[in-house]
Symmetry: C2
Subunit: 452 residues, 2 copies
């Protein structure tokens, strides 16, 4: 009986995060102050983030040590399992070898905890005992709530109101871990009060929740802000995923031909592929293919221009150079909520622009079908976000069946779908449809971009 | 940094199930035909179960080989992890050592899959391609649905109607794995139609759903029935849990002083403790304590008489000798749905009657508090059922703090609570209360018991 699970020892949890900024062929374009349009200075971010994270954001050190206190928490669920998808390969009748790295075994159920724990630690170390953040469907909020419990930090989560009402389970998870989660817009900030006075029934949006959380951090000495994706230091923390995977594959003499993952802000997939792309950049594995999969209804990488844009809807954050659909773009309410972001991690955008990675858009119905097929072979019911990567993985495996090539495909499986079964229910009830992105909207995005 | 997770190799998945019936100091009282009151014959069960399971039900062979096809599916999530609860020990300031075996990493999220896969396999082997069953809150139904996907068996689940409506996520999971799940009472059986004609708005009950599922199996040549707990063969299959745990503890030179688990039908905890109780019976570890924890609102072991009773509400199943609250007893609607059963596995009852195990009842509010405390230390949010065992574990650890004894406590953690967050929500909203069991109800139970 052949092995299906490959698990490293706890001692093999990486001791360092890997920083791609040490190995980029060209440096990342800097982020800009939203007012002055000049490169951001550390002091610009000091009201929001601890100094250690600000340093990590711009560092070009190749390896940054993971503090023992963080590794100690990682022990609760890391190293995560790398599976060989033997049953899926058999069902697809493909000669391809499919491996998937499953981050769904963490207590909150996805990869986001890898950075939440680090961010909570650095805040605590610098004397901050309170963090505010936003969350849409709740995955990021739960991760930070758990991290807060680990380091005895008060966590305040602004949750997009419509999600707060529709998806109570995530906020209850936050409550179990001791966080305070309130619906946004709220009466607790100027931003929230402003919206509520105009539109008392406003269902909320991620951009508005960001504005509330940032305002809380800026207006209180004792509170910092925390972001779950996009930023360089977040992707840095996620490289535990790819480093563990590389080590595990080395032990069984394997190396991927293709690496596939879903991208919303980009932190899960970058966490997987950055340790591998080092090998592509330095010429060891020049033909390595890295495929970023996004929803066709929010086709940031496949249709957006590569321009400086705000990270949030209101235009309060720094300007980052990203493939963007325009900070005013509101994606259709597809169920893969974690992928509904107008922009993308600048690191991923830079690599796409350099031609080192690829992007692909998937329509939502096909992703749910892929998720169902995967579950019937491998058991795991994945998060709707991860289903986008499963779709592309199955398609690549089918291409291998047709061509006869026995490629090695590595899938980054970001999380489970236990708390997202309403999405699968809507799929089975025939309530979902594929979306088309309209040319009008692309042009509108170009008009709304800030001039730098 | 001390190790917290202890994981066996896939090759160490047990090759045999352990059958306590080989080592009981006195044999189990036989189950009786509900009509004749004579001991059940194999042919009585043949319309419902495959012959191999009927043989397992009465076998006294000490070790029964686990088929390769079953071990092959077990590989997807087994061996499961044994955790050392270092953070919980620290939070409780206890000298006790706490280990927990976590079954929540299986695809459906609990231990029930260990028997579902075996039962599906034996049915398929004997040419049965269709299985009917009942489910309350959905944990058993999802487990059998997944097993059906593994062996290409059609699975039909009758789900208690009120749960079908209140807990849609479990039935969607069943749908992902390809099962057909309908609310009970339904128009599809005589039993269902009879109830609906009297009471069209009947919310359903587990007993009624059992009646529908059994009727379907009895009335169709192509369909067998499957039960998720209580029966000897089910407990047999669950012994993979205890055997893995014993082996893992041996490797680190540990042996428990106390083993604690929650009991509804009893299969999870029996699966943990049966391989250990062998050592108590043969005198190797005579002082081993085994504590069965049940809800105070359904105190089968702590308050029920030890008598022959039906397994279902309608009185259709065989009579089994059990601690029972009477087959007509409807437990209060506590959220630990998996523990709301009027009876208990005959094996556990026999061992309790022989004084080899103990029983304890817990009130529900304390169990949720224990679950929250556990989650804030260890991360995992447990199923409300498992919270009963966590409560008792924390209490025993506190006793150790007070006495200074460094006992080794082993906790059977049956599953996660991701799909039960509504229960935690009700707890936080102050909507739950502790229940009292009334003396009147005990006496009513004594009147309703069948005469044998």
């Amino acid at each position: 009986m052949e092995q299906v699970k490959f698990i490293l020892d706890e001692k093999e949890i990486p001791q360092y995060w890997y920083n791609i900024q040490a190995d980029l062929p060209e440096p990342l374009p800097p982020s800009l102050h939203p007012g002055t349009k000049k490169p951001l200075m550390p002091e610009d971010l000091a009201p929001l983030f601890p100094m250690e994270l600000i340093k990590q954001e711009v560092s070009t050190e190749r390896y940054i040590e993971i503090p023992d206190e963080v590794r100690s928490i990682y022990r609760l669920w890391r190293p995560t399992t790398l599976f060989r998808a033997r049953r899926l390969e058999k069902a697809l009748k493909t000669p391809a070898k499919i491996y998937y790295k499953y981050e769904g075994s963490s207590p909150p159920g996805s990869h986001k905890i890898n950075t939440a724990v680090a961010q909570a630690y650095y805040n605590k170390k610098e004397g901050i005992n309170r963090i505010s953040t936003e969350t849409g469907a709740g995955q990021w909020g739960s991760a930070l709530a758990f991290a807060g419990a680990c380091f005895d930090i008060e966590v305040k989560v602004y949750m997009v109101k419509i999600s707060y009402n529709q998806k109570p389970y995530r906020r209850v998870m936050m409550q179990v871990w001791g966080a305070d989660c309130i619906p946004s817009p709220s009466e607790q900030t100027k931003a929230g009060r402003a919206i509520l006075s105009r539109d008392p029934d406003c269902p909320g949006s991620l951009g508005l929740a960001i504005s509330e959380a940032v305002e809380e951090a800026v207006s209180r000495e004792d509170t910092h802000y925390s972001l779950g994706s996009v930023l360089n230091h977040v992707l840095l923390h996620q490289t535990v995923i790819g480093q563990e995977t590389k080590k595990t594959l080395e032990k069984i003499n394997e190396y991927p031909d293709i690496i596939i993952g879903c991208v919303g802000g980009g932190s899960n997939f970058a966490g997987m592929f950055l340790p591998f792309i080092k090998d592509k950049i330095d010429g060891t594995y020049p033909d390595l293919r890295i495929i970023n999969v996004e929803p066709a209804s929010c086709p940031t990488l496949t249709r957006g221009p590569y321009r400086y844009d705000f990270g949030d809807e209101a235009g309060m954050t720094p300007l980052m150079k990203m493939y963007t659909l325009g900070h005013g773009f509101i994606p259709p309410p597809v169920h893969a909520g974690g992928l509904r972001y107008h922009g993308m991690a600048p690191i991923i955008c830079h690599l796409l622009n350099l031609g080192l990675v690829e992007a692909r858009a998937e329509q939502q119905l096909g992703t749910f079908q892929a998720g169902v097929d995967f579950a019937r072979s491998e058991g795991i019911i994945s998060a709707p976000e991860a289903d986008h990567a499963i779709r592309a993985t199955i398609d690549e495996a089918i291409k291998c069946r047709e061509s006869g090539e026995a490629k090695t495909i590595l899938l980054a499986l970001s999380g489970h779908g236990h708390v997202d079964m309403a999405a699968y229910q809507a799929y089975f009830d025939g309530k979902l449809k594929d979306h088309e992105y309209s040319q009008d909207k692309i042009e509108q995005a170009l008009h709304d971009l800030p001039k730098v």
